[in-house]
Amino acid sequence: MGHEKIMGKDIYFWNFLVLILFTFVEVAAVFFGGSIDLKIVWTILIGVGIIKAYGIAAFFMHLKGDPVVYTMTALFPISFVVLMLWGIGLSNPDSILGLPAWCSPNWDYAYVTN
């Protein structure tokens, strides 16, 4: 993978440039976040986070090019992470009332409203 050249530079160089560029976008989105809609800021932050995570994992950590077993190893805990974020992160009784139904763990929060 490292031998591929684009305009005389290897893939690591271009990946580095992309990461730097998106970091500028990330910081700018938050710094000017006060004058932008909250949902747009979050969309930018999550989008940039995914792109940066892919750039680091795929190219710097060589997942793109390495046997697929390493990608599977990296992805294995993701299901637990999602479960933890959903089951613990979004389980606050005070917050859950304001969330859309599809992301509620559907626990009994009767004691909150009572």
Binding site: L38, A74, S95
Partner: protein, 422 residues
């Protein structure tokens, strides 16, 4: 210099002592200049600002008056400037002290290597028979953590704080640290003498380098560790009425101030976290360059004069890329502690829910960076002595460490927006 350890002379031990001394000198110089000279001048400015602030209050001004606000801002600014320089000086001194100790330790373990021709394993061949280091290091950590609370209380008591000492725990912790250091030392000794890469058999990693598979499984467990921080943060955060929640119309009165509320509104307060983000990304790239250089048998120095002087030979290029990575990681720690000192000065401490999750999560990440820096010292030592190359078949050490370092960068990609910006 570029064969295996048997070609490394014991003069390397003396070299490591000299480099360790140099590191200590850099730390001492940084401490004297930053914490003592500049810090004391800012302390003087701070003292004057406090006197002026008290005078303004005595004169009957209060919140809302221009004189009062100006005096208060001047006092706060002077205090933060003082903290910036003293924290930077103290952090650099402590870090260089640790670096010097580990670098000299690496030199020491190098010096007690067997002589050329000596049979490492006593059975007539050099095949690797496994290592005792993991079990030693695990035991050391166990004892260290077992006595940790007593260790902390004893340290507090020795510093004169009103806490009763628990010397049993203190001694257990010290025993743990000793075993840990022995484990690390043994690991370095074995790695320097040339590691025969073992290949995994059976599913799912059959045919793969066993250390690489092990590193990925370790990283898998690390993902879970950080997931606990994020999920607990999210759980608490969604219940707080913060500036963001209020602006989204979810509550009326802000009842919790988060770190991001104190950091994100001003370019000055956001700057340390921003610089750290760039420092980690650049350091990810420099470690890739170190690996790429180590693997490249046809490597040639650049035609650019500056680059040629920085990276004259392949061995020095690998070492210098690692040193740049170390410097960027060190910058990360220094800036993080400066930022923490400012937050604590503004009243955002670990005693609150928002403070505890912020300091634990970002502190755990900082600890990962610091452990990475200590391991990187060993890589630098090895690059400086044995050298990394494709011919030596030892460049994998940089690759596996690189995986860890990239993971630390990856974790920051999530921590930075979640804790500093959101």
């Amino acid at each position: 210099m570029s064969a295996n350890l048997h070609d490394v002379k014991n003069t390397i031990w003396m070299r490591s002592v000299v480099i360790g001394g140099g590191l200590l000198a850099i730390g001492a110089l940084a401490y004297i200049v930053m914490a003592v000279v500049i810090g004391s001048s800012y302390h003087h400015i701070w003292d004057e600002a406090v006197v002026n602030y008290d005078q303004v209050i005595t004169d009957g001004y209060h919140t809302g008056d221009a004189e009062y606000d100006e005096a208060k801002d001047a006092k706060t600014e002077a205090h933060l400037s003082y903290l910036t320089w003293t924290t930077a000086g103290k952090t650099i001194l402590i870090m260089t002290g640790v670096y010097a100790a580990f670098y000299m330790l690496a030199g020491f373990f190098n010096s007690i290597q067997p002589e050329p021709g000596h049979d490492n394993y006593g059975d007539g061949h050099e095949e690797h028979h496994g290592s005792a280091s993991p079990i030693l290091m695990a035991m050391g950590l166990f004892f260290f953590m077992y006595g940790f609370s007593g260790f902390v209380n004893s340290c507090k008591a020795m510093l004169g704080l009103d806490v009763s000492a628990d010397f049993t725990g203190f001694i257990i912790s010290l025993v743990g640290v000793t075993i840990l250091i022995l484990g690390i030392g043994n690991w370095w000794r074995e790695d320097l003498s040339g590691y025969q890469e073992q290949i995994a058999y059976g599913k799912p990693f059959g045919g793969q380098d066993i250390r690489k598979a092990g590193m990925w499984i370790f990283l898998m467990s690390e993902i879970m560790v950080f997931a606990t921080f994020f999920s607990s943060y999210l759980r608490m955060r969604t219940g707080w009425c913060t500036e963001w929640a209020k602006s989204a119309g979810r509550c009326d009165t802000v009842d919790v101030t988060t770190a991001s509320d104190l950091l994100r509104h001003d370019i000055g307060t956001l700057m340390p976290g921003t610089i750290n983000t760039f420092a980690l990304i650049i350091s990810s790239y420099t470690i890739v360059l170190a690996l790429k250089t180590a693997k490249d048998s046809d490597w040639e120095p650049s035609k650019n004069k500056l680059l040629k002087s920085l990276f004259p030979t392949r061995q020095l290029a690998v070492r210098n890329y690692l040193i740049i990575t170390l410097m960027l990681g060190s910058l990360f720690i220094v800036l993080k502690l400066i930022e923490w000192s400012h937050l604590v000065a503004e009243g955002f401490d670990i005693g609150t829910q928002a403070g505890s999750i912020f300091y634990i999560a970002t502190g755990a990440h900082g600890l990962h960076v610091f452990i990475g820096l200590v391991v990187m010292l060993f890589l630098i030592f090895k690059a400086d002595t044995v050298g990394y190359s494709k011919e030596n078949k030892n460049w994998m050490g940089i690759e596996y460490f690189g995986l860890y370092w990239h993971f630390v960068d990856l974790a920051w990609v999530a921590i930075f927006p979640a804790f500093y910006l959101y």
